[in-house]
């Protein structure tokens, strides 16, 4: 298999995963103007929840129809969004709207630390495994290399997620209302929009996307404490490259990071970590607001 093709395939697989874990982060920032550090914890909780739910599914005789485990994966993300979304947004974040952005970062960092310990309390420190969904889709042979079918399913999931978010925001009435809130929340409220409900909905959607990223990742890893730390760092890089608050930006950022990282692993493995932040630095050098973020007028 041609090296370029290998790099593209590997890059796309990684980018698909990256996009799913990043798009919720950029959505929450776009609507709530909060850089949610706890996104990493929500990802990890999604992984734990799916491991538990898929495990329960197979324990309850799911082997008869193993494909049902994919429903369990998605259901786990829904459950996390339904429970933690309102809890965090209504119970905490709404008290900090309009406050200094740095304060919001500190608040969500505190939530991140608390949730890390909550996970240990609930799931302990031992690893959880749910291999079955990872191997159910068989292998895909591309040239001399075998890929796992599940990897391509993650790419498909990323495309579906991206289209769903973009179409919802740009082709539906609720999407137009959300965009209006993003543009000017005070004016939207004056026009009768229930801004609090939009905030809650956006945060729940962001929570679902974080948890979905974790749920889809769980079958290919061992789910252990500390899972969310690395994810939040790379997700930040992606959304900063694409522009905070931009869904297409998250997609392009994920592709840039995914493909450049794959090229580095194949051609210059010593630079695997460096390359991600090098790409970010280059983008910020020419576009300090990111590739797709609109330049904003600052109030002085």
């Amino acid at each position: 298999m041609d090296l370029v093709a290998t790099i593209l395939v590997d890059g796309l697989i990684y980018a698909g995963w990256l996009f799913i874990v990043s798009v919720g982060l950029t959505l929450v920032f776009g609507v709530l103007n909060i850089l949610n550090i706890a996104h990493g914890s929500l990802y990890a909780i999604g992984a734990y929840a799916s491991a538990s739910l898929v495990g329960a599914y197979f324990a309850a005789g799911g082997q008869a129809f193993p494909y049902g485990s994919y429903v369990a994966l998605i259901l786990a993300a829904v459950l996390v969004a339904l429970v933690l979304g309102p809890l965090l947004e209504r119970g905490l974040l709404r008290f900090f709207y309009g406050r200094d952005e740095v304060l919001n970062v500190l608040v969500t960092y505190a939530v991140f630390l608390i949730l890390e310990d909550v996970m240990k309390l609930i799931w302990g420190v031992n690893p959880y495994f749910v291999y079955e969904p990872y191997t159910l889709l068989g292998d895909v042979e591309i040239g001399p290399l075998f890929y796992v079918g599940y990897d391509f399913a993650v790419i498909a999931a990323a495309i579906v997620v991206g289209l769903a978010v973009w179409l919802t925001l740009n082709r539906t009435r609720i999407g137009k209302v959300v965009l209006a809130v993003i543009h000017d929340s005070e004016m939207s409220q004056t026009m009768g929009v229930n801004v609090q409900r939009i905030y809650l909905g956006a945060f729940m959607a962001g929570t679902f996307l974080a948890a979905l990223g974790g749920a889809l990742t769980a079958p290919m890893i061992s789910v252990t404490p500390g899972l969310g730390v690395n994810v939040i760092i790379v997700a930040f890089a992606v959304v900063i490259i694409g522009g905070l608050g931009s869904v297409p930006g998250a997609a392009i950022g994920a592709l840039l990071v995914g493909i450049s990282r794959a090229a580095s692993v194949h051609l210059l493995p010593e630079a695997e970590l460096f390359i991600i932040y090098f790409v970010m630095a280059i983008v910020l050098l020419f576009r300090p607001e990111g590739l797709f973020a609109k330049t904003q007028v600052r109030k002085i």
Binding site: Y14, F129, Y134, L145, F146, Y147, P225, G226, H266, E270
Partner: protein, 438 residues
């Protein structure tokens, strides 16, 4: 006595948190401060199994008569053993403070601890400053005593050079053809050092072997798809990895799904500890080390240490429902060494609880038996242990429903550890001078 165990542990942690005043141990009690990972990524793989093994052994020793000679005497020289446990998570700066707390506030008689090499490098100068007898039980970096010298600090486990020299020797002794090899190791000191040791040993034993690629994914990366593609493309005869914990589990799950283990020989320098979690998901045919004759390699060894090994193995399985992997073995060899040193010092001082100075004098150059083999404090002027090692090949026993290690090769401590007076990297570069392998 530590009964009930959980209650004892909680009480000890409460004391460690400083909710009670200083409590020096009475003369009929020997108080140990144990530091190991109880949280964080190293907890599941190393810290918790080691602490479980430590708790178990302390209980057995306090009860007395449960172990074969020479460990059948109750406690340490008749003294009850009391343990204060501290979580190693939090970094070296925090651990230095925790160490001071243990020595100055808890007034422990000895400290046994440290999985992290960073902690093992940070604590010894403080131990010497406080004149506190300290055993490093787990960490692997050779730098502790190759770059430093301490009066009160001892490491009762061999350093990590042994792991990769043994792996290379295993390939040679099995006549495994290695025209090329590649590595996938974590991108921090442990992974980088392990790869350097392995390539150093391979340069001597397989001088014509070509290094195809050396990959260092970030610690905790989780996703190895691109790295696996690179390894498949490069098509090396062998893939070396010193990954541990979740990183190793994730790599194995993804690598086996893509058939890497069928196209290249996987050689895992420290991989035994993931067997209890992976079970039959761990592929057959992997060359596997356990950083000593630990875990399955110890069980398969037999010989004169069989009774001691079986006693600990069965007690651990009965208590925790799983078999002991490498970490409890290293904790056991530390505690057996401490018991031997305490009793030796007491024999010389008339039977009173030994001081740190007396303990250090007794420990220097000491040798003793443990389930992992005969341990000798042979390096660093009697402060650094050497021990035998073993490498085997994984094979799932479907009938018994458990993983076995077959084709196990055992290596004498002096075959796979450098001799006194030479640094590990120099020993490798010079072609193992002084190695005694016959």
């Amino acid at each position: 006595m530590m009964k009930p165990r959980i209650g004892g542990a909680l009480a000890a942690m409460t004391l460690a948190a400083g909710m009670a005043g200083p409590v020096a141990a009475a003369d009929d009690t020997f108080k140990i401060g144990v530091i190991t990972f109880l949280s964080g990524q190293a907890a599941e793989s190393f810290g918790v199994p080691a602490w479980n093994g430590g708790k178990l052994l302390v209980d057995m020793l306090n009860e007395g008569g449960r172990l074969p000679a020479p460990y059948d005497q109750q406690g340490f020289g008749g003294m009850n053993i009391e343990v204060v446990v501290v979580d190693e998570a939090g970094g070296a700066t925090k651990q230095v403070q925790e160490f001071r707390n243990l020595v100055q506030r808890e007034e422990v008689d000895a400290v046994v601890g440290y999985v992290s090499s960073g902690d093992c490098l940070a604590v010894p100068p403080v131990a010497d400053e406080l004149k506190a007898f300290t055993i490093l039980y787990d960490c692997g970096t050779p730098r502790v005593f190759e770059d430093g010298s301490y009066d009160y600090v001892f490491r009762t486990a061999a350093h990590a050079t042994m792991d990769n020299v043994s792996l290379a020797r295993y390939l040679k002794s099995r006549n495994f053809d290695v025209p090329s090899f590649a590595g996938l190791n974590q991108d921090y000191a442990w992974g980088q050092d392990s790869w350097a040791d392995f390539t150093g040993a391979m340069t001597q034993l397989y001088p014509d072997a070509e290094v195809k690629t050396a990959l260092f994914p970030k610690f905790g990366a989780g996703q190895y798809g691109t790295e696996i593609s690179a390894l498949l493309r490069e098509n090396p005869a062998l893939v070396h990895s010193s990954n541990w914990g979740g990183d190793l589990q994730g790599f194995l799950i993804q690598a086996t799904a893509r058939g890497l283990h069928e196209r290249a020989q996987l050689a895992l320098a420290a991989g035994d500890h993931v067997i209890p979690q992976l079970q039959d998901k761990m592929p057959d045919g992997i060359f596997l080390g356990a950083r000593g004759v630990n875990g399955l390699a110890a069980q398969a060894r037999g010989g004169e240490l069989k009774e001691l090994t079986d006693t600990m193995w069965e007690a651990y399985e009965a208590e925790y429902g799983t078999f002991p992997v490498q970490a409890p073995f290293r904790m056991w060899q530390a505690l057996f060494g401490l018991k031997t040193a305490v009793e030796k010092a007491m024999a010389e001082n008339g039977g009173t609880k030994p001081t740190s100075e007396e303990l250090a004098a007794a420990m220097k150059g000491l040798s003793w038996d443990a389930p992992s083999g005969h341990i000798e404090m042979a390096l660093a002027d009697g402060h650094q242990a050497i021990q035998p090692n073993a490498i085997g090949t994984t094979k799932w026993n479907a009938d018994a429903g458990k993983m076995e290690l077959v084709d196990v090769e055992y290596y004498d401590a002096r075959c796979v550890n450098p001799p006194e007076g030479i640094k590990s990297q120099d020993w490798l570069a010079q072609g193992f001078p002084g190695a005694q392998c016959d």
